[in-house]
Every structure is written in C-alpha cells, then in structure tokens.
C-alpha cells in the first residue's frame, strides 16, 4: 500500500507538565503537513515501511552544540483494541513502535501508555531503520521481521520530528488517527 497521509500538529494542551502546553500553545498547521507512507509485507510475518516527508534542512547530529535536535520518525501500533493514537495510548492501553533518529546507529523499540511515558528498549533482532535525505525530502526505511501488534491490529500511527525546527518529544507532526494497513 502507498498513500499520502495528511498530518496534524500533536496537541500540546493535553501534554504533561506545566510548561509545554503554555509555552507551545496549539496553533497553526503542522511543520510537516504530509508524508508518503508505503507499507509492504516482507515474508509471512515481516514488514517494510517507507516514510518520506518534506524536510528543507536535515539534522543528522546533535553533539556539536547544546541546542541541536535530530530529525526523527516513529511508527506505532496499538497492542489492544480501542487504543487512542493521538496520546500514544493511555493507562493499560499501550502502544508499541519503533523510533528512528538521524543521529542513532540503530533504531529503538518504544512502548508507551500515554504522553510522557515512552520507554525505550533495544530494538528486537532484525529490526532496522535507515534514513536518507535528498533534494529536500527525508526518507526513513524500516524493516521489521516480525511485529505481532501490527499483524494483529493492522493499524499504524506515524510521527515526524523536524530537528531544524527544534521538534522533539510532544512537539511533532502526527497522523490524526490510526491508519488502516491493507498490505
């Protein structure tokens, strides 16, 4: 399957802590308005996911200064039914996924039960993610040999962070709801 997904600015009003909702009030369009999503099966249980989005200024490293943020993208899937996407799950309704960051050698597996609860784990064996940038377009390619949550629920969420715009954490562009996976 291949489709263009319209993205929204992740709402800050519902994010934890007193600072982010007030310092970054919800306003304006997402910094990444859309992304092209391609999902293909890779063998009986595996997946290959391409995500491509406009990115004028790539950021691949953050170690050279105190105020740099790397480009990043994440894929999410609900573990259970009726799991909210926009808040990254909630108590007892976890989401899991994979996070690619331009400055990391390998992706990490993420598990969350709502905003602010993301736990990072080493990605399971064989999970890979590679990013490229060409002519103003960022592409991240994920290879996931076995992802039961995606195979079962057939729903995918995406999140994109533009490092040059200092997007990180809950400052991101996301799909407004789960995307049905038909592949």
């Amino acid at each position: 399957m291949k489709q263009t997904i319209n993205l929204v600015r992740a709402p800050t009003m519902i994010q934890p802590g007193g600072y982010v909702p007030k310092a970054y009030p919800d306003a304006g369009p997402p910094l990444t308005p859309n992304a092209v999503l391609m999902v293909d099966r890779n063998g009986a249980r595996g997946w290959v996911v391409h995500l491509a989005w406009p990115c004028a200024e790539p950021v691949d490293e953050i170690k050279s200064d105190t105020n740099r943020f790397a480009d990043a993208a994440a894929l999410l899937a609900p573990v259970l039914e009726d799991t909210p996407m926009i808040s990254m799950g909630g108590p007892d309704v976890p989401v899991e996924g994979v996070l690619w960051r331009a400055d990391w050698a390998a992706p990490v597996k993420i598990v969350a039960e709502g905003f602010g609860t993301v736990a990072r784990h080493p990605a399971p064996a064989g999970w890979t993610a590679h990013g490229t940038w060409k002519d103003g377009v960022r592409t991240a390619r994920f290879e996931i040999p076995d992802w039961p949550a995606l195979a079962t629920r057939k729903l995918l969420g995406i999140a994109i962070w533009r490092g040059a715009e200092r997007e990180r954490a809950g400052l991101k562009s996301v799909c407004a709801d789960w995307i049905p996976v038909t592949a």
Binding site: Q15, P16, G17, G18, Y19, V20, K22, A23, Y24, P25, I62, K63, S64, D65, T66, N67, R68, F115, G116, V118, R120, R166, R168, A169, G170
Partner: protein, 346 residues
Amino acid sequence: MTAKASPTAQPPRQLAMVLDLNKCLGCQTCTIACRKLWNTDSGTAYAYWNNVETRPGKGFPKDWRVTGGRTADGSVKRGEIPDLKSGYGEPWTFNHQRVVNSDSNKGKEWLRPAESPDWGPNWDEDEGAGEYPTTNHHFYLPRLCNHCTHPACMDACPRGAIYKRSEDGIVLVNQDRCHGYRFCVEACPYKKVFFDPERSVSTKCIFCMPRVEKGVAPACARQCPGRLRFVGYRDDPEGPIWKLVHKWKVAIPLHPEFGLEPNVFYVPPVSPPKIGPGGRALAEDRIPLDYLKSLFGDAVGPALTVLCAEREKRKRGEASELMELLIAYDWNKNFKFDHGAREVFK
C-alpha cells in the same frame, strides 16, 4: 504565549544557602571546587553548575535573565536554549604543554586558547559600569541552582525526570528517565540546567547531596575563602538560614519576580559612595538602588537599611548578632545540618 505557572507540592524541609555579596572576592574557588568534584564529563566541559559573574554584566550564559521561561510577572513564556558559541562560550583548548616546554632564549610561548573566542564565561569580568574614578562599580554574583520551591525545570519536563527530594527539597535530574528534550534548559529562568550533548541528558547542581547527607557542606560553600556562604535548613531557628532570611530579613532571593521562590538567598552589596570633587566621598551610592532592585526586587532597600544600621552599631562597639554571623568569626556557624558537622575546625 504566557500563562501562570502551577504550584508544586512541597517537601517538609528545605535545605538552603545564603551568600553574602559584600564578601565575594570573585576568586572562582567555588566554581572550580564544584567543577572538579562533579562536572568532569567532556559533554559538559562548557557548563558551570556554579559560576561567578560580574555585575553589572551579561552573566553566564549571556543575558540569561531574558532567555528563560518566565516573564517579569511570573508567567510561563517560551524560553531559549543557549548555544555553545554565543550563549555559553565554547570550552577553550590551551597550549599548556608548549608553554611549559618553551624556552625563553628561543622565545617564550604565552598561554593562549587555540580558538579565537569572542565570548565565554566570565568574559566581562570586572567591567561593571560607571566612570572611573568617581562612579565606577561592580560586584560579584556567584550563582548556582536555586533548588526552587516551585522549580520551572521540574514543571517543564514532560517525562517527570526532574524531582524535588522529599527529605530536603534538593532538585535533581533522574538521568535514567531524561530523554534530552531540554524543556528544562529552556524553562529555567536562571539557566541552571545544562545539556550534555554527548550523553544526551540534562545535568545540574545536586547541592552536593552526598556531602550534605553526611553533614558536610557543599564544596562551593566549604571551599569559599571569603567565608560568605551559609548552608542549613530554612526552618531551623538555630541555623544561619533562618536567622539571615527570616529573622533579620537581610538575605533575599535573586529575581523573585519569576515566582519560583528560590532557596538560594543573597545578602545584597552595600554600595561604596560616589567620589566628588577633590576626591571627597559623596552621600550618593555608586551602585544605583534601582539596579539592585532589578536583581533582587523591592526587598533590597529594607535589607540594605538593616545591614547599614547593624554595621553602624558594630562601629560604635555595640554587639550585633547579625554582624557576628556575617563576618563569620566562628566559621562553625556558617553551616548547620541535622547530622552534625564533620568538617568544621575549632
């Protein structure tokens, strides 16, 4: 983009520090004591949990007063993350070895950084303000994390990675939870959280937590040759903090308008007089009161009045509990913990 900050649940006790600005030499012993003890990671080579800046001046990081996440009425605003070059100042690399090995017969090599910096911590040391020799003035402002009663850093962290210890109110970063998002760096209006880009975590003053747990003063206070730092619990009527902050009301917080209720307090500097024609001292202060108010708020006037009155008393040969404490004849009285005081000399 501004809105009032939310209050914080408070620990039962609070450790605090008072610094008497009338006695600071600007020697940076505190800065180095702290740095050598806690902050030797290469990723934070630019950072100073404790710094001493000249006032009037830009401070460290540059212009920190206006780049934090609070407005002058204590509302939340979007702060900035200082950059390495123009904000903090890049750490410099020196030609130590070449200087040591250089031979004065063949031409002595002078100590100098390899970089060509145009900003760094303490860059404007001793510049101050006014005209020499009549109105020139400066004083030193040592700064550390204020272990605020309502910490902006803690409020800013979406991961709950910053917390205030229940036993003594010390504000700490749990680096295992920190994901390096730096909202704390943005939000702290004192700019006292530092990001380690190599480890991708935030770091900050820990009020020498392992030392104070054993009744030993923080390194910055313990090493201060000026004996100007006082440490103890705010609610201990026998301790120096309660006496200076609550009883005598001469120790006041920096930028109270941010609304964080700092637990580091300053005894403001009593100004020397301006010099008039013929080199005579005038009845006017060199350090404008309005400048001090811009740092310490309106409480600075009454605090200076008490300080001057007690100085006069002492000059007349009368006893003054306040002057006795501030002069630190008995250094034991600078520090008071619950656990005894291991390091104190008799």
